[in-house]
């Protein structure tokens, strides 16, 4: 069997397994609670696996190892920030949200505020964050397939993006949250297994001496000890150091504001199970990020990562698959071809699971927040709501396909870090205020969300990432006046500040009264949504 056939067989296997799961799940999906929250019947371990599957995206698998392969130690910040961020989610958000919300991120704001303005705001930021995140995954899929076909074929890349888009629409409309969750669980198993395999093979090359692996990376890249120390990418001047700080803030505060992660807490029966699922997720995600060290430095030690290399040309995104090929025996060997095909299929499964979660999240928010509450003022039937959610999945999928094709020049890790910055600026302030501040009200919530959203997206638009620099989206024009590539250090405080300002400049006596109810419900689970029993 040639390596192309093998690759094709593995990709088709991934698609068939996930399609099968989706059909199975569709028969278990009856009402809105099934479609949006998987019937709230998942166990802590299952949801922990699904959270890991939802969280460890192409940016984690392809992006972080690539960043370490190219920039050495500086790439490690992504791993640390992405992991520590889970403590914010565990300690401050997961359980309280499980008890006070229902299907979407907006639910717990709407619990005590004016429904229409806060749901419109929260739904807007849900869709914006999810689309940035979606773009990153689809760009990753395009790059992966182009590598496998061995040519820089634009048609192949574009076709891949369209195919991924159609698949994710299928998963969501047919399988709902149940199907999406099982796809994510299967993906988590595949991703962990594939990563463990490559890590062992890489370490075996260095007699399981990690120090020796680091030494080889320092030597092979020609950068010496500097490669193992912080500062290679971000230590150049004060601006780049502040950029590093900004990125660090966005990473650690973003996770607890990511809508597709938040709605996973609704898929379990109680807050205590939500806690258990986050503990499992922290264990799995932590183990995975430790292995990214071996993958990243392994790629630096064993591959050519110079300026003209394949790894560098892909912005580092292809470091993991090429590393798999190298440890399997190298280009042209059977072992190399098998491992390359295997790891590419794992990356493909990774991307499919994440895009399904993101599409479901934004479709749910459009249907439940905008359609049912804002347009129909609560008069929509469950069946109508779910029908609109499915329709929205088509529209959002279409938008993501249309945007991903021109976005292929952008780096995956950048797009995801931007999604984190938007989530930390627009979503986290209102979530935290709402759960812990009695006085917080509708104006505070809408100002926090729109303010954080406009500040983060606006600053990126005027940053060197979009115009001016050589790696920018528009290289011919330059309207950049904001020097940082990550806006977090400005936009996150803006979100918190506007949330405070909006609250203290308006009066809304109801919200403080309703806070009593929210607080009791969030902390005790009294009156929280129950699991569905079929």
């Amino acid at each position: 069997m040639s390596s192309d056939t093998l690759t094709a067989v593995l990709f088709v296997a991934v698609v068939l397994v996930t399609v099968g799961i989706t059909f199975w799940a569709s028969r278990q999906t009856k009402g809105a609670a099934d479609f949006y929250a998987g019937g709230r019947g998942f166990t802590g371990f299952q949801n922990g696996m699904a959270i890991s599957g939802d969280y460890m995206s192409a940016a984690s698998f392809l992006g972080i190892s690539g960043a370490i392969a190219l920039f050495g130690y500086d790439g490690f910040l992504y791993s640390i920030g992405f992991l520590v961020a889970w403590l914010v989610a565990l300690l401050l958000v997961a359980e309280l949200l499980r008890n006070s919300g229902r299907y979407t991120m907006a639910d717990q704001l709407a619990y005590r505020m004016r429904q229409r303005p806060v749901r419109t705001a929260a739904s807007t930021s849900t869709v914006v964050v999810s689309i940035f995140y979606l773009l990153a995954q689809m760009v990753g899929a395009g790059a992966l397939v182009a590598l496998l076909l061995g040519a820089e074929s634009e048609t192949a890349k574009n076709l891949t993006i369209v195919a991924v888009g159609l698949l994710m629409i299928f998963y969501v409309t047919v399988g709902g949250m149940k199907g999406t969750t099982w796809v994510q669980i299967v993906k988590a198993v595949l991703l962990m297994s594939g990563t463990i395999l490559i890590t062992i093979l890489v370490l075996a090359k260095f007699d399981f001496d990690f120090g020796e692996l680091l030494g080889a990376a320092a030597t092979n890249t020609g950068k010496g000890d500097a490669f193992l120390q912080p500062g290679l990418k971000y230590g150049i001047d004060t601006t780049s150091k502040i950029d590093f700080l900004s990125l660090g803030l966005a990473l650690v505060l973003g996770t607890a504001g990511l809508p597709h992660i938040l709605i996973r807490f609704y898929t379990v029966p109680t807050a205590k199970v939500a806690r258990t699922s986050v503990l499992w997720a922290i264990g799995l995600i932590g183990a995975f990020y430790l292995m990214t060290l071996a993958l990243g430095f392994g790629a630096a030690a064993l591959l050519d990562t110079g300026p003209d290399s394949k790894v560098a040309a892909s912005g580092g995104n292809l470091a993991s698959p090429l590393l798999a090929e190298a440890v399997g025996g190298g280009d042209g060997t059977t072992g190399g071809a098998v491992l390359l095909a295997l790891i590419s299929a794992v990356a493909f499964a990774t991307i499919l699971a994440v895009v399904a979660g993101l599409t479901l999240t934004s479709a749910s928010s459009v249907a439940h927040d905008l359609y049912a509450t804002v347009f129909k003022r609560g008069a929509a039937s469950e069946r109508d709501e779910v029908r609109v959610a499915k329709l929205s999945a088509f529209v959002i999928g279409g938008i993501a396909i249309a945007l991903a094709i021109p976005a292929q020049k952008l780096n995956i890790a950048f797009l995801v870090a931007l999604a984190f910055a938007v989530a930390a600026s627009a979503n986290l302030p209102s979530l935290i205020y709402n759960l812990f501040w009695r006085r917080f009200n509708t104006r505070g919530a809408t100002w926090a969300i729109y303010g954080g959203l406009i500040a983060s997206v606006g600053l990126v638009f005027f940053s060197p990432v979009v115009s001016g620099s050589e790696t920018a989206l528009f290289t011919d024009h330059d309207w950049s006046w904001f020097p940082l590539s990550n806006p977090g250090i400005i936009s996150i405080p803006v979100g918190f500040l506007l949330g405070w300002l909006g609250t203290v400049t308006s009066r809304e006596p109801d919200t403080a009264e309703r806070y009593t109810e929210l607080e009791v419900r969030a902390l005790t689970g009294a009156g929280a949504e129950q699991a569905v029993h079929h």
């Binding site: 791993s79 709407a110 000890d225 193992l228 500062g231 049912a372 009791v520 009294a526 949504e529």
Partner: protein
């Protein structure tokens, strides 16, 4: 459907049982127990994490110090962030299980008893 209506229609009906529960000494203890752990812990891990980021930027000589076999302070510091994350997560789960969950369960049972024999 009642919980659904209530949920969708903000502030239309306010269930007085929540005010009763809120006024109980158990609830005050529950909230204090929860906050006494999560607020200091959040300040601690965020400070510890930001210290790491700041030192990567501005304490480069210290971070570059080699401990042995190509392992430097920066790598150990990074790995310590993993260790503290795992540790805080486990401590939190243990603390909640012993100090907070029993109080929460008691109040939830009271809620179920008071809202028409648990029919929601």
């Amino acid at each position: 459907m009642s919980s659904l209506d209530q949920f969708h229609d903000h502030a239309r009906r306010h269930d007085p049982v929540y005010d009763e529960l809120h006024a109980t000494p158990e609830f005050t203890r529950l909230r204090a127990a929860y906050r006494n752990f999560v607020f200091p812990a959040t300040v601690a891990f965020l400070t510890w994490y930001l210290l790491y980021v700041v030192m990567c930027n501005w304490a480069t000589d210290f971070m570059a110090k080699e401990i042995g076999g190509n392992i430097n302070v920066a790598l150990v510091f990074g790995l310590l962030q993993f260790a503290t994350t795992f540790l805080i997560a486990l401590l939190y789960a243990r603390y909640m299980g012993s100090r907070v969950d029993p109080l929460a369960r008691g109040l939830e049972e009271r809620y179920n008893a008071e809202s028409r024999g648990g029919a929601r």
